[in-house]
Symmetry: C2
Subunit: 222 residues, 2 copies
């Protein structure tokens, strides 16, 4: 099988962003407002076919959530710089490296497809020691639409030289799996926190706890 | 002139949502994560032409942000019900009723156009005592795309019987004004918190503090 991994939050652990916010006196739960804001704006601009690079919206969203606090912080520029530096050096979740190694060792193809930059994704995989197992790292940066725009998935399938039905999108985000599914991909949901599936989105084909469980499940089924 | 007012957060004050979260032991800053999450999902599904009613995504987003807390809350269903009840009875910002009255008294047409339901928007205007001044309340509910999808604005202009260039979209959200501007509307940004304009979005034509300042500015200019 050919697995296509989402990157932000699916592979990377955003907890250090919360740590950075907390160091500066901001609540760590702002991380979710920040990340939802990045996606909100990337999707809004994808509706206009004008989506800019992820890091640009990421920085603007940090600024916006800090501005929104009941008690404004001093030295906002410093906090923004710190959060952006942390974003560029996030770790992966504990299941990521063993999961990717198991999938590759079992003979499956593993690629990555991100709304972020391909360079950031490659750096993340390097730091986790699994860059070799993920030879193809695709980004939406080359277009002007982000996932879950249908053209993003169609473009990724073309670049991977595969029919959508031969690809399995792997992600923690319902909006990503919904979009991939509608574009013809098979879909696997990593549900690390045992969340309820939001009923507005089409259901994933597979639901597993994490990448090591995905590898184990696929191995049993093949 | 013909002003088209966004509703959620542009007219309504979301602070009571924060109060409700706080009553249940959740941080009030979750309000931003919740609202950004609603928009994220509405926009994602608009990319698929599958956007469901606002209240459906609003409820799913409350559940998601509560699930995401480091320390899970007891009685999540109760919190969700409480937040949804508060969402249905929000007040408007202090500038809203006097601003709308001034615009209408000066002979301008005032309409509303919301990603929420038309009924919720009408109720909000009723509670604020300005329903009479806003005879046309439009919602995206009739379609399967939310603002800022280009078709949402085009559809609103058609229903208002006006050319987009004869309409001025009024909102607090850059993504809404960006979309309206690209669809040919004139745009007025209500910047109640003196925020920096995010550079990824096309700039609004007018920037004012709130609706009373908009009415005063327009009156001076006419």
């Amino acid at each position: 099988m050919h697995f296509v991994l989402d990157v932000n939050e699916t592979l990377s652990d955003l907890a250090p962003i919360g740590d950075a916010l907390e160091r500066h006196g901001a609540p760590r739960v702002l991380t979710r407002a920040w990340f939802n804001g990045v996606l909100r704006d990337g999707f809004a601009l994808s509706l206009q076919r004008q989506a800019p690079p992820f890091l640009q919206l990421a920085e603007e969203s940090v600024r916006a959530v800090l501005w929104d606090l009941p008690a404004p912080l001093d030295r906002v520029d410093e906090v923004v710089d710190d959060v952006m530096a942390v974003l560029g050096s996030l770790p992966v979740h504990p299941d990521v490296a063993p999961g990717i190694r198991s999938l590759a060792a079992a003979g499956h193809a593993v690629s990555a497809f991100t709304n972020g930059s391909a360079d950031s994704a490659r750096d993340l995989l390097e730091r986790a020691g699994v860059a070799q197992q993920v030879p193809q790292v695709l980004s939406v940066d080359e277009g002007s639409v982000w996932k879950p725009h249908p053209e993003a998935y169609a473009g990724a399938a073309t670049r991977l030289g595969a029919a959508p039905t031969d690809l399995t999108m792997v992600a923690v985000h319902p909006w990503d799996l919904d979009g991939a599914g509608r574009a013809g991909f098979r879909t696997a949901w990593l549900d690390r926190h045992h969340q309820p599936w939001p009923t507005s989105f089409s259901r994933p084909d597979i639901r597993v706890r994490d990448l090591t469980e995905l590898a184990a499940t696929i191995s049993l089924g093949s």
